[in-house]
Symmetry: C2
Subunit: 387 residues, 2 copies
């Protein structure tokens, strides 16, 4: 087992009606609030009105219009400007992972005199950040329980993940009822996102029985509960369990002591959504089984066998390779069964920029150091197989 | 799923050599340190010397001699006196769960003008507490990752669990090598303690697939790794995984959203060790299978079936009741196989005070509200069955 240094100090307030605790949570953090959100969905479900009403004693500055794959320009830059101009005390992010990721970049940028891109690219280490509170409306990224975010810069096709312990939300408010109106397509993409977070950590060296069991439980629960959510979007228990699962995706608790896996599917997918602005979870679902096929070898075989037996219940008496291939096929079949478009062409990506993307990924994502090291040629092949 | 409000802000520094980070962890917390520890074991393994050397720039006041089932008088009272007299800034607990539990009571008591018993019994809510850092030498209680402790008061046979979010350790330093010298008997008792923590949370209503999977992984990992530790006390990987498992025992992460289970075995065991000062983990191991037999019914059957199939690999095609009984027998057999004395008589408890203990438990532990409610007669029967 590897040494680790770990914490997740965020408070989780979970369940229906949790929003009522918002004023109590916000009060010690200050009176001037940046309210960050995305499109109109929080208005449609009444959450925007609830928040404004609960925070009637606060001074609120709004940053609306944060997009999926949140953009450095304008969203991060505009948020930083607003925080500085209005001397904001605390950021309240209301929405999905994109709103929260963007808010994290703003929180650090607001306390930094230079170009916030310095922080995101680790050229400069942040010395302080505004506190963040969030109200989550989409079960997917796990940003509500980690200290990282992913920011896209359109003009350079960069999509960069950055992390800093300063950026743990102080408190995340999670009410599964806010996810009732999430579309089938977004529900499936959220599931794929969280499943891939788990898979990225499961396929590693030095794993423990404990971590393997945690990951397998996550995957099984996500599959069962996503199906229930798709069958009945207002199934509270299923939405709740899915929301809880997603929370654990990226804070490291699924892989404490494991060797670094390199998060290869994320490395590849970040380029896809940077170049084409596709839905992150869909990109991951498309890449995952192709990546699996590509890295299947004598060395990785036992991981796939364990995955197949424990997650999909494949007969352990079968030959190892057969178990592994069945497990990969089952992964593909599950994503397809929940309605995810399983070919890059279906989400608007053709072969024209594959070479360019493969080069970009190989140069920027460090996948030559992944659990199963990937060269530029490997990455290119995985992309071609995904077309 | 039930609503919950959860956090565990403690930083975990895990792995061999972690002690080197102690000065960096302590420095921001202050210069005057109460160093709390138990018997001589931390001197025998060289940890005491390491700590004194690493903290050579600090002012250290010592509180040695904290016993298992830590005592209000003298340990808590003496610790509070020392903290006040020396204006201590931070408590450093070095040892097992008892040292840490005692330190938590001291941390709260040091910031309170009245009798610290008021806090432990919740007569008064603590308003502040000294910060706590710990270095753990025994994989068992999980106190290093929760905000609770258990304190015994000899003259009244009270053994009281108390919790306060103020009492989360700031940082827990976990080096599995410090557990190499733990005796076989204490290793087994630590395993039983952590297994019971898991079982107490598993047998509940409203559980999720996710929590069930987490608990089942904990139990399987604890059994496999404890055997390895007993076979080879210096098996780093096994000691490490056991240590990590124990960490999750009591901070709630195994049962977020579950209905309250009531922790019945703990309720019963607290009386056993308050009246007879036995080893907590051994008391739990003795009680657990008898409690299981006692609560097995049509209503609880499915829980036992899931437990038997998923934890012990019992054939799911068997009749339900047979699976349940085999699972209970397997629980007993496992504890026995790791050398735990499985009868109360073997740890010095006879029938003479059973009526008195049953009454004490029924009056103080609220087990009539447990997952499977227990009356005084039920408790008495479980104790008799455990003789």
């Amino acid at each position: 087992m590897q040494n680790f240094d770990y914490m997740t100090p965020t408070r989780l307030i979970f369940g229906k009606g949790s929003i009522e605790k918002l004023p109590e949570v916000m009060r010690p953090l200050g009176r001037r609030v940046l309210l960050a959100y995305g499109g109109g969905s929080i208005k449609k479900i009444g959450l925007y009105d609830s928040v404004r009403q609960l925070l009637s004693g606060f001074e609120i500055v709004e940053l609306p219009g944060i997009q999926p794959n949140p953009k450095y320009d304008p969203s991060v830059l505009e948020g930083v400007r607003l925080c500085k101009a209005h001397e904001v005390d605390v950021i309240l992010a209301v929405g999905g992972g994109s709103v929260l990721d963007c808010s994290k970049a703003i929180a650090a940028g607001a306390k930094y005199e230079g170009d916030p891109w310095d922080l995101i690219t680790y050229k400069v280490k942040a010395q302080a950040a505004l506190p963040i509170v969030d109200v989550i409306t989409l079960a997917a990224t796990g940003s509500e329980y980690d200290c990282g975010g992913v920011i896209s810069r359109t003009e350079t096709n960069d999509k960069i993940g950055y992390m800093d312990p300063l950026l743990f939300p102080v408190c995340s408010i999670l009410d599964p009822e806010y996810t009732f109106s999430v579309s089938a397509r977004q529900t499936a993409a959220g599931c794929a996102d969280a499943m891939n977070h788990t898979i990225e950590q499961y396929f590693a060296a030095d794993t423990t029985l404990l971590n393997d069991g945690f990951c397998e439980s996550m995957l099984k629960s996500l599959m069962v509960n996503t199906r229930k959510c798709l069958d009945n979007p207002e199934d509270y228990t299923a939405r709740a369990e899915m929301m809880l699962c997603c929370t654990y995706g990226c804070n490291g608790i699924l892989s404490l002591g494991n060797s670094q896996s390199g998060w290869p599917c994320h490395g590849i997918e970040h380029a896809l959504s940077a170049y084409y602005d596709i839905t992150h979870g869909e990109g991951l679902a498309i890449i995952t089984p192709r990546w699996m096929r590509h890295i299947l070898s004598e060395r990785t075989m036992d991981r796939f066998v364990k995955y197949g037996v424990n997650v999909f219940g494949i007969d352990p008496a079968l030959p190892k390779e057969q178990i592994a291939i069945r497990a990969i096929d089952a992964t593909y079949a599950f994503f397809e069964s929940i309605g995810i478009p399983m070919h890059l062409r279906e989400v608007g990506i053709d072969e024209s920029r594959i070479d360019e993307m493969a080069r970009h990924i190989a140069q920027n994502e460090g996948l030559d150091k992944a659990y199963a090291p990937l060269s530029e040629a490997d990455i290119r092949q995985i992309l071609i197989d995904s077309l």
